[in-house]
């Protein structure tokens, strides 16, 4: 009986898992970095408009 | 003000819980009706052939009681979280674990004990052989408080989450598994004529003894974590 398909299947499952385990956290890390940068920009913009409005308030 | 002792607080807690259940006694009948309905589902689905039903009877009864227990877990702490009484219990001069033990026992007596008492009738619906009835009753009498105690720990973790019913069920089921295996398994072993049914019941008893001490402590720790 040829076990080849089963062996290939099992090894493929493992390889897929390794790939996912490698990439998913990296994607999350880069998304977190982008979110931090976006948040910093929003807060800087908010501070700038507040400072700009102060004299006329 | 009368002196506070463990016994007086236990009585007060038990009286309060029983009064609350009595005021909503219609609701308290729901686990019973649910179990009866679930048991009735199986002949509906499988057909009414007595031998077939008799073979699966212990398993169906156990699963029905277990599922009913899962559904009632949410009511263990829900109303007290919503009106702040749970935080008052945290501040009580007696250990929270003691109050929780009383709470769980009252909860078991009002939700699961009726099921155990009605189980002979349900066993008749499924043509369970009469000789197996004592083993079934003992397994349920030992297993249902164990389920309530284990469930109390898991329910304590989800106390702060809204609409956590399904999550609670998913978290509790793996922990319920050994109780189901030994509970239903004891009856199945007796049905097959094996002597291991006694060992399974003893294991349930040992588990119950441990859980009576450890589960309230774990549940108290879990409530502190969940409410922090």
């Amino acid at each position: 009986m040829s076990y080849l398909e089963y062996v290939i299947g099992a090894y493929a499952v493992f390889a897929l898992y390794l790939a996912w385990d490698f990439w998913a956290p990296r994607l999350r890390l880069s998304r977190t970095r982008r979110e931090i940068a976006a948040r910093a920009r929003r807060e800087a913009a908010r501070a700038a408009t507040a400072a700009g409005k102060e004299p006329s308030a | 003000m009368s002196a506070v002792s463990a016994w007086s607080t236990a009585r007060a807690q038990a009286r309060r819980d029983l009064q609350l259940v009595w005021r909503r006694r219609g609701d308290a009948a729901q686990p019973l009706l649910f179990t009866v309905m679930v048991v009735a589902l199986f002949p509906m689905a499988l057909g009414a052939e007595p031998n077939q039903l008799a073979r699966i009877a212990p398993a169906v009864l156990w699963v029905a009681v277990l599922l009913a227990g899962l559904l009632t877990l949410d009511s263990l702490y829900r109303s007290d979280v919503e009106d702040g009484s749970l935080e008052q219990m945290l501040l009580a001069p007696v250990p929270l674990a003691w109050l929780l033990l009383v709470r769980v026992l009252v909860h078991w007596a009002t939700t699961a004990l009726p099921l155990v008492l009605v189980s002979p009738l349900l066993a008749e619906f499924l043509y369970l052989p009469r000789e197996l009835l004592p083993v079934l009753l003992v397994s349920l009498a030992l297993g249902t408080p164990l389920l309530s105690l284990l469930g109390a720990v898991v329910a304590a973790l989800t106390v702060g989450i809204r609409r956590s019913g399904m999550l609670l069920a998913l978290l509790a089921l793996p922990l319920f598994l050994p109780v189901l295996v030994f509970g239903a398994g004891s009856v199945m072993a007796a049905a097959q004529g094996l002597s291991s049914w006694a060992g399974a019941l003893l294991l349930l008893g040992a588990g119950l003894a441990l859980a009576l001490v450890l589960a309230p402590l774990a549940a108290a720790a879990a409530i502190r974590i969940a409410l922090s």
Partner: protein, 249 residues
């Protein structure tokens, strides 16, 4: 205070951990990959075919390490959770929650490879073998921890509650395992399912050991990477996080 203790304390600080994880993650992944390449090459091409099971037993070289990892990661998760709950160390909360998805995936791989291996052995994809059934329950325990962590909004409270659940699970795990084996002896009768790994010739064992070490190294890399991402996300408002994200002042 000696230097090791000082380093250990400093590691608990989020920015220090971020740098530590950034430095050592590639090592974990690299060593893991190299080890797996060696081990799997040996498993596929060097080791002779088993006289009873043919070539399908080569799946064992993935199945067994994955099963070991699924159990080890659960125990480690419970240890981190216990440290976090007793000593209130924030980093251990992060590490415990980062363990959960990795362990869940290893459990899934164990189940999948066990099922694929069982297909030629048993004729069906699933057989309620006691070991695989216990792995299935372990998967549910992992998913419970992950689900509870996701269900609570406050990240610290979520990690503590899910960590507590992990500890409860690790205490009950031997009981669950024993109950499944008892159930199996009750219902399956005398048929013994042997995977035969204990009866392996020593010359066939070396790829197994290589794989076990390699998966541990991979786990370290993956854990550090996930913990780093979670750490950064939790500290998103802090200055060091902005610096790490490359935001200019």
């Amino acid at each position: 205070m000696n230097r090791l203790l000082l380093w250990f304390h400093q590691l608990g600080s989020p920015p220090v951990f971020d740098r530590f994880a950034a430095r050592w993650t590639p090592w974990g992944f690299g060593l893991g990959l190299v080890g797996m390449a060696i081990g799997l090459y040996g498993a596929l091409f060097v080791v002779p075919a088993d006289y009873q099971q043919g070539d399908s037993f080569r799946i064992l070289y993935i199945h067994v390490p994955a099963a070991w990892m699924s159990l080890m990661v659960y125990a480690l998760m419970a240890v981190y959770a216990a440290i976090a709950l007793i000593w209130h160390i924030k980093l251990c909360e992060v590490l415990a929650m980062a363990c959960a998805p990795i362990g869940a995936w290893f459990t899934a791989v164990t189940l999948a490879t066990g099922s694929i291996w069982g297909r030629p052995m048993w004729g069906t994809w699933w057989d309620w073998d006691p070991r695989l059934t216990s792995e299935l329950v372990l998967l549910f325990l992992y998913l419970g921890v992950i689900g509870l962590n996701a269900a609570i909004e406050d990240r610290r409270a979520a990690a503590r509650a899910a960590g507590f659940l992990a500890i409860v699970g690790v205490v009950l795990l031997p009981i669950i395992r024993y109950s499944v084996e008892w159930w199996n002896s009750l219902h399956q009768g005398a048929t013994i399912r042997m995977f035969g790994e204990d009866a392996m010739d020593p010359s066939m064992k070396w790829p197994l050991w290589v794989m076990i070490i390699a998966t541990k190294a991979w786990f370290v890399g993956s854990l550090l990477q996930r913990a780093r991402a979670d750490n950064l996300a939790r500290e998103a408002g802090k200055d060091w996080a902005r610096a790490a994200a490359g935001v200019e002042k």
